[in-house]
Symmetry: C2
Amino acid sequence: MTERGGPAARAVLQQCLQARLQVRPAEEPSEEPSKEPAEAQFVQIDRGMVIYICFFKGATDDMLPKMVSTLLNVRLCESDSGKTVSVSELPGSLLIVPQATLGGKAKGRAMQYHDNVGKEDGRRLYGAFVSLCEDQLAVVKHGTYGNRQVLKLDTNGPYTHLMDF
Amino acid sequence: MTERGGPAARAVLQQCLQARLQVRPAEEPSEEPSKEPAEAQFVQIDRGMVIYICFFKGATDDMLPKMVSTLLNVRLCESDSGKTVSVSELPGSLLIVPQATLGGKAKGRAMQYHDNVGKEDGRRLYGAFVSLCEDQLAVVKHGTYGNRQVLKLDTNGPYTHLMDF
């Protein structure tokens, strides 16, 4: 919670059998016919969890360790035997998707994002969040902050959860 | 908002290029060898929006028309020209996914769902919500309340939004 009363960060969590995310878009064809434009680049995880993450004004680096610990240790995943376990216990992989749209509030028919953290702070917090996850889980993939998050998801039931911090 | 101060319903919205949802699981093989078990059944939409929906205690039928009108008319989708438009304006299809997990709150490492509406009320509200969407949009598909929501999603950026009612 921040001084303005709202959350400092918001995460939406979905379980997946496989998830694929674009981390670099394809290059536009060049005017030099000899130069092949680079293809789009993707990262992929198999069984695990997708974390869509958004930071608000008032978010601090100090809050990240507890946030990461909660997200990786709360029991949201289904084991082979049908038991509910954390992504760390599964053990599963993690795909982190920066998702500024999660900070949106409807005003009339338009969405506004006034509470979202600024771009530079958001990029730093996102990078630190990814690093902390990488410290705790063997397989962590993540999207590029500020890019379009071209995502493909295959689930056996996403079990979508929301967690505000 | 309800008397307890929390929301009466929660929707998570994602844009898709294609989405496929299981509406009936495959039948278990029968002991009669002559009888072929029925295959799983799916619904599918192409370009449009996925609505994950959860009702809380205190949700009423009265709130549904305004809720549906908001969800179908708020500008969350990207048109071919890059303009932000509503799913009705796109015009896009709708896939409605009942998602009780959206009502979860972490207590320690476990998720609790104490604020979720009861099963019978939830089923009725969900059915009424689907009917109202069907009245307003040409292509509306939906999951079966209470089932596992086996979902496959292909996006050009999910633009995940949260809306509480």
